[in-house]
Amino acid sequence: MLRSRKFWLALYLGAIVLPLLVLLVEERPRPGGFWWDFSLALGYSALAMMGIQFALTARFKVPTAPFGIDLIYYFHRYLATIATLLVVAHALILLWRHPAAVGSVDPRSAPAHMSLGWLALLAFLALVASSLWRKQLGIEYDRWRRLHVALAVLGLVFAVVHVLGAGSYLESPLKRGLWLSLVVFWLGLTVYVRVLRPAWLARRPWVVTGIRKERGRSWTLTVKPDGPHRVFDYHPGAFAWLTLRASPWAMREHPFSIASSPMRPGSLEFTIKELGDFTNRIGEIKPGERAWVDGPYGSFGIDRFPNARGYIFVAGGVGIAPLMSMLRALDDRGDHRPKWLFYGNSDYERIVLREEIDAIAARIGMKVVHVLCEAGPDWRGERGYVDAEVMRRHLPADLDGLDCFVCGPEPMIRLAERSLGQLGMPLARVHSEIFDIA
């Protein structure tokens, strides 16, 4: 049973507030003036928020399921950036009001815990900068992943040593013990994600059984388990972390939506477009190569809304991948509820999986509307992007009871959501998954 969003949000807020409450356990620290205590409280809270980042990104299925993995990553970005700003505020306020207590920045004369505090601050700033501007800085994706984990762990460790050395609030062994336990917990999560889980995966290898060129610079990759283990159960629309030509410990896994239907066990299919460092070379993979598959993850999909009166699908380019899983599953289940697919691409020849979509559409009573933004003069269908005008021409006036699934680049999703809103569709029935986050 999925716990609700409210439950996890409450837990999360509790985790933020808890470290501050620990400070009030036993004797309260001696007051040092408003700005002093305010800035120290900011520092403690920021550190707690940093610790929570490890939990957010540890890929726990249960807490992230109610939200969706893309939302979790967006949240992680915002929260980590805000936490870093709080750390900066902590340092600046102390420099402004109590410069003598901060002392010299020179590491040769400053005590170790102060120098480590400055290093922690630098690590967090580097984390934020290298993440928000990864592409502009020209950092290759896999290298960036490793840098990210290293900076995060270093930043957290340095910050904790700083707190234990400078922390005038942590005089009692109980308080120090509580803080240390929190930190061990956060770091333990890293051990789980980077060591334990890969070890589990390493005992369950997969093998590539097929690689097929598709329209629109895309490929369909088929993998199956290479051993006694079986393909995991998954819902149509789920995704998995795929590792090719590397070991499970190498941090070279990439998330891809599963495009196959779960009604056909035995293998998994991924439809992958050439869009970046890793995917540009997907066509070089040969059958027989080793693969590692960690999944399923995500809650995007029709099976969370089995009682819908019908479905509307909106896809842009390779955003069709998770929707293909849903379409193939509906086909296998012989579903005849009313359905519509609005599919945006550049031109007719580059519509990914075009033929199969048309075949499935005929069997499951789905109306397919291709919307092309670079079509030639012979194209008689819709042009431009999937917007309210296009939708209005093909959807019924009554959208009650329908659920909508949108997948593609972010601007496309925003446009689709606005358009559906204009047509009277409640946003709660529009479900989306954003591609291209990092």
Partner: protein, 140 residues
């Protein structure tokens, strides 16, 4: 946006914490309650202040609100006599039970300072507790 809300909540909670710790109307460094009769040489006191700054005492202590408010020294001399002030400064055996282990270790380093510097430091601390005492030249 939950992340912004969290940031705002943290700032508010931290401010509340700051206010709880420092209710408006209380000053962090009250004036000395007991005027201390002292005969202090102003040159020794000035030297003591120099030592105080050179040793970065304000990393952990404050005087008149300047420095680390964790351990204000403004009226330390009103509660402790000269021998006790010295004992605390250098982490002597007699005060080992009063200080945290970490603090003791840090203070023991000051046992390396010359005796005149330590005496000057004590004189400086004593001058803080007697702001109105007219300095008279004479043996300390």
């Amino acid at each position: 946006m939950i992340a912004m809300f969290t940031g705002a909540a943290v700032v508010v909670l931290s401010a509340v914490f700051g206010l709880l710790q420092n209710p408006p109307g209380t000053a962090p460094a009250p004036a000395a309650l007991v005027p201390v009769e002292m005969v202090l040489d102003p040159r020794v006191v000035a030297r003591g202040r120099q030592v105080f700054e050179a040793q970065n005492c304000m990393r952990c202590h404050s005087v008149a609100g300047e420095g680390n408010p964790r351990s204000p020294l403004d009226h330390a001399a009103a509660e402790l006599d000269g021998a006790q002030l010295l004992a605390f400064t250098v982490g002597a055996e007699s005060v080992a039970n009063e200080l945290a282990a970490r603090t003791l270790a840090a203070k023991r380093a000051y046992q390396q300072l010359p005796a005149e510097d330590l005496d000057a430091l004590v004189a400086y601390l004593q001058s803080l507790a007697a702001p109105r005492a007219a300095p008279r030249v004479g043996p300390p």
